[in-house]
Amino acid sequence: MFQTMMQAMEQQTRDQLEKGKNARALWFHAWAQENLRAYEPDRKVVYTTAYAFPMEILRAFDVAPFDFELSGAMIGTTEMIVPILKSAEDKGLPRDVCSFHRASLGAHYNELFPKPDLLVTTSFYCDGKGKATEILARRFQAEALLLYVPHELNRDSVRYVEAQLREIVRKLEEVTGRPLDEDRLRQAVRHSNQARRSRQRMLELLKHRPAPWGGRVLVSYAINGQVLAATPLEEEINRTFIQEMEARIDEGGLPEERHRIYWFAWIPTYTSDPFDILRANRASVPLCESFRIFWDEVDEENPYEGLAMKCLKNPFVGASRRRTRDLAAVRDEYGIDGSILFATPACRHSKSAGRLLMEAWAELDVPFLTLDMDICDPRTYAPEQIRTRLEGFMELLDQKRGPRPVS
């Protein structure tokens, strides 16, 4: 079913692209193609979590990376999700475990995903990711490698991560039967650096008021788009988003904004309407934490150290204050006047910092809302409750700003 879904997505987006280039179609087309590669006969498949693992390493080999978490989440966009979640629950996975992982494991139990030759993931963002990888590895009788990224950035931790990356490279050489192609690794790093630069341009454009882009698509791209990290496609999609934003700004007529929201963490994958409610209240989301650039360009000639630093500088590694760094500049540059934390029940590493995030914004006089909603399980979705909370929050922001103009 997942393979068919990807084939349909590939076809649909190809049709759209034939009519004209657009960033979203380009992104989903590439996404579908990337996933379909994992179903090719004799293709070596490496399960990974693209938004965390340094994908540059995998690009240097002839393997098809397969993000089992994001693929599980993609099933969350369909009506199949509840039976899929139930398959994992029936096997004994409790319902207080992250629905991202229940979806992925449910998909596995329904034999929807390709068979991996190797599984690699990181210790950040969450414990669940590593555990889900371990379960899948055992189920498939394949080896799982965990890249442990320490809490603190120091000389020892850089060396430790670097050494683990070299170990992963050795394992990939073993799995593919080919030695690492250093030029290919340099090229992947180059693509990644180019995409970083174009993302900087995107972030500049998002400062424009009214916002030329943002909301659900932005948050989704920030996470989901990483499946294409370190490929030329990422850069191409970024460039296309830039062209679209520039065109919208030039044309004018962007919808009027009353509030600009900074979004923490993730978004629901199933049909739900928080972003519609925000739009109806003339609130845009021009920035989310997962789209910010926290890492430096990686030196092509010394990729291991640069990639280790990229992992260690991730705001979800280490203390929560990393997530609130530079918020004053964010508020001023992006005109932020409200912030929302999307709190999915099992995401303890993110939502447990809610109070600290709230206080950081309070010091800047920016109201904050914790929006409790599941990421992938629609069974707990209570639309009216979400509406009440978001509308209450909008009223608060309105009051702070002053009366709305009478039209």
């Binding site: 210790s123 414990d127 965990l146 020892d156 060396r159 929560s320 590493h349 910092a353």
Partner: protein, 361 residues
């Protein structure tokens, strides 16, 4: 719960068995495994309510200054929630300075070496947080290694004896032993054991009483043990953070690098689900069941404890594959044991066989 201190002693609490007591001891503090009273909802304003009861109760104790005799606390990167608890503690709990210890989830050579460097930093962090005038000396670490080795060995010895019925104690006595000694590593163990086990008049276990292995994260109270015994069952082995999992493994004495020796022992102790070592953990549990002749496993993960919760799936699969019955009981860390659990335990004991009603005196 309060550490037993002499007039000149100071205590540092810690929250996870992956924190080596040796470092705390060498820094001049008494290590104290802190188990808070169950008041999870008191922390709801500071941490998301949907967090495990142990973490929330720890925070509640800190916020209410309900940690008498404790000078500071060592948090560990044992799970996502604990990491965040450290951040919250740092900001909202005055008077009990927290320090943080990162713990790799792997136990290979690279990880042991990194962890050794992290243990050195831990000693430095304790020194700065408590204004100690000098660095922790390697000789002090060596001395504390010897003390802790001796204590662990003495404690280790009693668990197999208990499993063989050489020790006339009920499970609650053993539970008290595990809990009680975690507060005072340098206490003379045999004396303490004698005190805890003294006067136990539990009759010898009947031949037809089938035992169960109890495994989970933290047992805050021995209620579940009482329930199993009162329902005619027998605890064949107890595998929790506060009991048998804490004691195995000896730190190499006289090592050229005592931090490395400590790191080696800590990361290779019987793994808890936080480690990426399901196979080892599962084998340990299977051995406990086989060696103790138990008829089944009662698994009691704390609600919202991610590492334990994920392991449930594989444990069920593996144990059922081996024909060993498993009962999963969710532990809320708060409420007394409900009647529903009593019914489930009784039914489970019937399935593992040998149910003989008996009553505690």
């Amino acid at each position: 719960m309060k550490p037993a201190l002499t007039a000149t002693e100071r205590a540092l609490a810690y929250v996870c068995p992956y924190v080596p007591e040796e470092i705390i001891l060498a820094a001049g503090f008494r290590p104290f495994r802190f188990l808070p009273d169950a008041n999870p909802s008191d922390a709801d304003a500071h941490i998301h309510p949907n967090t495990c009861g142990y973490l929330k109760s720890l925070l509640a104790a800190g916020l209410r200054a309900a940690m008498p005799g404790v000078d500071g606390i060592v948090f560990a990167n044992c799970c996502d929630g604990m990491r965040r608890l450290h951040d919250i503690w740092e900001k909202y709990v005055p008077g009990i300075p927290p320090v943080f210890l990162d713990i790799p989830k792997r136990n290979d050579r690279l990880s042991v070496e990194y962890f050794a460097s992290e243990l050195k930093r831990l000693a430095g962090r304790i020194r700065s947080a408590h204004g100690l005038s000098r660095e922790v000396q390697e000789a002090e670490i060596e001395r504390s290694i010897r003390t802790c080795n001796r204590n662990r060995e003495e404690r280790m010895e009693i668990f197999p004896r208990w499993r063989r019925n050489d020790v006339r104690a009920d499970a609650a006595g053993l539970y008290a032993l595990g809990q009680g000694t975690s507060r005072a590593p340098e206490t003379d163990f045999p004396e303490q054991a004698d005190r805890i086990l003294a006067g136990k008049t539990v009759p010898p276990v009947e031949e037809n009483r089938k035992g169960v292995v109890l495994s989970g994260s933290i047992l805050r109270r021995p209620d579940l043990l009482f329930l199993i015994e009162a329902s005619g069952g027998r605890i064949s082995a107890l595998d929790s953070c506060l009991t048998a999992r804490r004691f195995p493994g000896r730190v190499e004495e006289g090592s050229a690098d005592p931090y490395l020796a400590l790191a080696q022992r800590t990361l290779t102790q019987p793994p808890c689900p936080r480690m990426a070592a399901f196979e080892d953990r599962c084998e340990n549990l299977l051995s406990l069941v086989r060696e103790s002749g138990a008829g089944g496993l009662i698994y009691f993960p704390l609600k919202h404890c991610e590492p334990f919760r994920y392991d449930t799936l594989l444990l069920l699969e593996r144990f059922r594959g081996e024909g060993i019955p498993v009962l999963v009981l969710e532990d809320e860390f708060q409420t007394p044991i409900p009647e529903q659990v009593r019914t489930r335990v009784q039914a489970f004991l019937e399935t593992v066989g040998g149910h003989t009603p008996c009553f505690r005196p």
